[in-house]
């Protein structure tokens, strides 16, 4: 009897701990409030640190610094020197969220870390920029001593991405990634009778005309885009309201327009539902794939569309570039200064040199084929007839990139964009493929977003 009593007690104790363990509900956002000490700040008189810690996810920024920041000397793969300051590169690949997880964990310790171990600079991408920008972990650009006048030539959208909810600018980028519409010149000639960018633009100038053209393409055996997900970014960059309003999930009209337009295209067999980067999606990089156009920035056509492979459209210079129905951007890297850094002077100089110095910017365009974040430089390059792209059949696309980026309005970004965009496309795939009704898939989307961000409602 005694034994049984003990075992009942033990069971009860175990059950109690299990329930108690689930105490705090709603873990909250990862980099939440936290609040790092504000002991440093932008005080120029303060002692400057001797170690500059830079957190990033690939070699891109390091290469840019090595090539274009005059005082930088490379020591080894992860170390360098600027004057008497040691530069330490902490590179974590972004696969599987590893970069953000590592950054989150390190930022949490930022306040208590020794001065030389604190993060000084970290890089962010547009999709999750606000997650960091909207916290105290990032330092306002103004506090570094960089004025609005310094940044006058930068594209507005690159500032929108890293402006927090109070309107404070918290990061800078050296590049712009305006996207355009890349069309298959052979298909354009065959179906539209011309492959001149200005003439083709007439057939894709807005979504209604775009969808009309899709019918013509279908009759000739082409699909207008490879997948519905191709045009998603174009619609989602042109919304008039953010994904989350006052803690409630909000679906913008332009996003719903994407759903309706896309459903029609899919039902008519004028496009597919592949995931971006899948094998099926990439078939259109080759003439046999029979795809009329892809949406993307310069790097897509230069590096990702199999231009090096014999027989691909890019290899034969068979793509043309035109503005397409709406302007958008895709990708890009922003430099943020971490709150608590002791290298404010150096960070200011790096930011100014890399993102505003016109000579450096020109160098980057010519050496690295990048689209830099400087209006006058890019406009001058667009006029330059000596610059042309082999993949685009000798076209100089910079003018089109410039036109696209000019009208971009990204004031409607929210910290939830990455999750919402991803879940929305996942859910809608079911609707496009006819596995569920629109309402069912919308519910699925809400459910998935609330799972991802428990603090939201719908």
């Amino acid at each position: 009897m005694k034994k049984r009593l003990v075992s009942v007690l033990l069971c009860a104790a175990m059950a109690a701990t299990m329930i108690a363990g689930c105490g705090s509900s709603g873990g909250g956002s990862s980099t939440g409030e936290g609040g790092t000490g504000k002991e440093t700040g932008g005080d120029a008189a303060e002692e400057q640190g001797k170690v500059l810690n830079i957190y990033c996810w690939n070699e891109e920024f390091k290469t840019r610094i090595t090539d274009h920041y005059a005082d930088y000397e490379e020591v080894d793969a992860t170390h360098g020197k600027i004057g008497d300051v040691d530069v330490v590169w902490n590179i974590t690949p972004s696969d599987d969220n590893a970069y953000q997880n590592n950054l989150d964990a390190t930022l949490l310790k930022q306040a208590d870390a020794a001065a030389d171990d604190k993060i000084d600079i970290f890089l962010v991408e547009a999709d999750y920029a606000l997650k960091y920008v909207d916290t105290d972990y990032t330092m306002p650009i103004k506090d570094l001593g960089i004025t609005d006048a310094d940044l006058a030539n930068q594209y507005q959208y690159t500032k929108d991405v890293v402006t927090d909810s109070n309107g404070v600018l918290k990061g800078l980028s050296w590049q712009g990634c305006p996207g355009v519409l890349f069309y298959n010149r052979a298909a354009a000639k065959e179906v539209l009778g011309t492959d001149d960018p200005a003439a083709v633009q007439e057939y894709v100038k807005d979504w209604d005309t775009f969808n009309e053209t899709a019918k013509k393409m279908k009759d000739a055996g082409y699909t207008i885009t490879s997948s519905v997900n191709d045009s998603y970014r174009v619609y989602s960059n042109n919304v008039t309201s953010p994904w989350v309003v006052d803690g409630k999930i909000n679906i913008d009209d332009n996003i719903m327009k994407w759903v309706d337009d896309s459903k029609e295209l899919v039902d008519a067999g004028e496009t597919g539902t592949w995931e971006l980067w899948s094998d099926d999606w990439s078939k259109g990089f080759y003439p046999e794939g029979k795809v009329f156009c892809y949406f993307g920035p310069a790097w897509l056509v230069n590096f990702s569309m199999a231009a090096d492979t014999e027989g691909s459209i890019g290899n034969q210079g068979g793509w043309g570039a035109t503005e397409g129905p709406q302007g958008f951007f895709w990708g890009g890297t922003w430099i943020c200064a971490a709150e608590g850094t002791d290298n404010t002077e150096l960070i200011k100089d790096i930011m100014l040199t890399m993102t505003t110095n016109e000579d450096v910017m020109k160098e980057i365009v010519i050496d690295d084929d990048d689209f830099v974040n400087n209006k006058p430089v890019m406009e001058a390059m667009a006029e330059d007839t000596s610059y042309s792209s082999k993949i685009l059949g000798g076209q100089n696309p910079l003018g089109i990139y410039c036109a696209g980026v000019e009208n971009l309005d990204l004031s409607n970004l929210s910290a939830y964009d990455q999750g919402c965009n991803e879940e929305f496309q996942n859910a809608m795939k079911n609707y496009f493929e006819g596995n569920a009704t629109k309402d069912e898939t919308l519910n699925l989307f809400y459910k998935a977003v609330v799972e991802k961000y428990p603090e939201l409602t719908y």
Binding site: C22, S25, S29, K283, E433, N435, A436, K447
Partner: protein, 247 residues
């Protein structure tokens, strides 16, 4: 308060859908698996058959289990993608005209997951059952043979009843493994559980909560999962294991 998590967990009713998905996929995988394993086990342990290369095939059937589940899922994802080799093959032999979208239909998506798990685990099950069968006293088989029993009779009247303890062990471990089904559907559907979450398992649901650092809900779900496993194991144990006749 901790109990709130349990309330919101059951409120939507989604947890039952995911539990059902998990069980359906487990049954789809377990039934063919146990039949296959019993058959192979009986053949391999039957001394009268004198199969050649038994040792070699015992190794071969175990091999799929050595591949990482995620790698296996990636392989199947490519094989069964809309423009993948299986579809081209089916189209070339004129079986279908347009690619069949394996991962966009509930039946085929679940079927693929079940097939993969079946392939991965039947070797393991076979080896366990074989061990049980070889442990049966051979004099019983000989006696049956003398009495003129057919091999079917031997299997159902002697092998199966004496195999019961091992069979029970196999069912319970497989059930627990099945409830924890995660890596294959996660990789195959890219974590979405498409189409319409019909392949979303309980652990995938748990993973979603963990990913959003909602540890309260994840903890509650884990406890529910523990209770479910316990109850189901008890049921299996009571139904098939507690045979008083043998004492």
């Amino acid at each position: 308060m901790g109990l709130e998590n349990y309330k919101s967990l059951f409120e939507g009713g989604d947890i039952w859908i995911y539990a059902k998905n998990t069980m359906v996929m487990w049954i789809m995988c377990f039934v063919p698996q146990i039949i296959l394993s019993l058959l192979l086990g009986a053949w391999f342990s039957d001394t009268r058959l004198r199969l050649r290369g038994a040792r070699f095939f015992k190794t071969v059937i175990y091999l799929p289990n050595l591949i990482m589940a995620s790698a296996f899922a990636m392989l199947f994802f490519t094989l069964f993608s809309d423009g993948g080799p299986i579809n081209s093959l089916l189209m070339q032999i004129g079986f279908i005209d347009t690619p069949y979208r394996f991962l966009s239909n509930t039946g085929s998506a679940r079927g693929l997951i079940a097939l993969m798990n079946c392939l991965m685990w039947f070797g393991n099950t076979t080896i366990l059952l074989m061990a049980g069968m070889m442990g049966i006293d051979t004099t019983l088989f000989e006696a049956a043979e003398v009495d003129g029993a057919t091999s079917t009779q031997v299997f159902f009247k002697i092998t199966l009843p004496l195999l019961r303890p091992i069979l029970l062990y196999v069912v319970i471990t497989s059930l627990i493994g099945g409830l924890q089904l995660f890596d294959v559907p996660q990789i195959l559907t890219n974590g979405t559980g498409d189409p319409m979450r019909s392949t979303m398992t309980l652990i995938m649901f748990l993973n979603k909560h963990l990913y959003s650092k909602n540890y309260g809900m994840a903890g509650a779900l884990s406890v529910v999962l523990f209770i479910m496993t316990g109850v189901l194991s008890l049921i299996v144990f009571k139904v098939s294991g507690n045979d008083k006749r043998k004492g």
